[in-house]
Amino acid sequence: MGKEISRRSALGGMAAAVAAPTVFGSGSAWAQSGSTIKFGGSLGMSGRYAETGLNIRQGYETAIKFINEQKGGVEIGGKKYRVELAIVDDASDPARATSLIQRQVDGDVSFFLGSYGSNIVLPCAGITEAAGKLTVQVGASADQIFQQGYRNIFGFFPRASRAWVTSIEFFKSITPKPKSVSIIATNDAFSKANAQAAAAGCKEIGLQVLDVLELPEQVSDASSALATIRAKTPDILITTTVDQNSLVIVRQMIATDTSVPLLYQFLGPQLPMYRESLGAKATGVIMQLPWDAQIDSKDPIFGSTKAYIEYYNKNNTRALSYHTVGASACITTYVEAMRTAGGLDPAKVRNALAATNMSTAFGPVKFSPDGDGDAIVMGAKIGQVQSGKVQVVYPTDVKTADLIYPTPAWAKKS
């Protein structure tokens, strides 16, 4: 081979590469100045949550861009402010996230936007709460976050144990009346909390819970669980798994002819990739729908959901997800709370957030006394994949299509 790199020159090169951003600047370091509001926080922009992290980041950036470029900033207490995003990559790692958040807390950030994943948001919430800083987030709903007595954390989803109110009502409403349910979860806080809530709710309305099957956190094979499902087939199969795991399970269900009258996948079918991957087989799958593009709501910054969608699509190529809209609505909610408070005093903004009851592009926003989304006002709708598209099938007053139930067996879908 050619001349080898000497140790000295390699070390020198690496030192120069590390020092260069410091010398030449990696972008201006905005302080919480009198004319800029800085929203801080961390997001998993790499690591296992990167896909959703990217969706959320795009939502934040869309709102920031719109406010600064289209509105020229926001007027709060008679003063004009630009808004700035100071989000750092936590690599989907709770340990890294807490370290980064602590650094921002010690710095000049007063207003935080949450990360994605209850395992990250929970420890970070402890740090921001202890420092008296505010957090509004669209990435976590584990009960533990809202049971610590924290006053400064707000979430856009009802906590996991209350996230099933609409779904349970939906199960009560469908005919023929289902008699049994089985649940597949994974061994992590989010999935287990949702599985427990789903099981409890189903029992309350008289459904027999046949099995609650808990798989490892990363699912590569669900054959044993599906063998159990084939042996004792429920009327409803619920999976409280994250997107990738949901797709593994449903693809294996198709490959093993494991059909159920109603398949409810909490997360997964919302993604265009899920529906493209399954094609016609996706028809009939039910999901929670925190947001739907067909439902137009007023928004104090963007004007309306339709206007938001139009602006987003003009400025982004990435498909719109409910996390994106929710993330933009986090900024909207913060700004409106600051306007109500008449300034940036964290205590006053906190009280304004707690009293929020408004419409955004994401839909209505109202928080419970513990800070999670109000279970009725912010409860998810029920969606169903029909011919490759997501239709709202419940509540009936906002439905965009009739429910297909019972759904045909996999082999009959083409």
Partner: protein, 294 residues
Amino acid sequence: MNATLLLQTLVDGLILGGIFSLSAVGFSLIFGVLGVVNLAHGVFILAGAYLGLWLKGALGLDPLAAIPVVFLILAVIGGALQQTLVSAAIRRGSLMTSLLITFGASLILRDLLILAFGPDIQSLSSTWLLRTYHVGGVVIDGARATGLLASLVLLAVLAVALHAMKVGRAIRATAQQSFAAGLCGVDSNWIYMLTFGVSAGFAGASGIIIGMINPFSPFDDAYWTLNAFVTVVLGGIGSPVGALLGGLMLGEISTLSSQYIGPRFPNVFIFCALLLMLIVRPNGLLGNAYKASV
């Protein structure tokens, strides 16, 4: 005990084991010939899946038909990695240094995959996947059975190459006694590069099959590297048959423990099996295929 359920579980284990064997093919070869634990192995698998995705999108090539192309591309990348980084690391440091180097390479390659394809979950589909079969009361997952067949074919190809071809003999000779092989005219540097390249090529080919069975994202690399490592430790280093046996054992442990202990426990039993094997038979079921001759 329900006999049909037991049979179903055993069949599921065999099929799952096929996927594990597939993922371990290239890893076993590098470990056996070079003595390098290639922590970039999982990323090579994913790179194969992403290349298959790209070829399907750009040229309309069915993923299974894309296997030879993906094999060649990854073979070149693997060979280049070995020549530029791995061999230099071993020369300047030690075999342990290669662990760090391949780990670093995996991080860089993973980020390159994210840059090129994004962090989103993807999946592959093929019109050539087997359909579902019902035999008695047992359901055979066609997609995963395709994975088992593919792993048998790839392993057979590798076994033929190693035992029937001149270059295969040279690889085995270098693994057993590189000095003596050199005296017989074998260029060990070239053999190491070829081995790494072939292994990366096999990883990429297996990535296409895996991508058709499971959705994938750039962050799954550690999972596949770990699976390959466990498979190789169980089955034995360097041998395609060892990779097959190790994978099948892993599959059976996974499905049997899931079915009869609990679906959240397969990882516990897999690692218990790994520990047991390391204590009782550290070289795996078939031992080290390239144990150095005296």
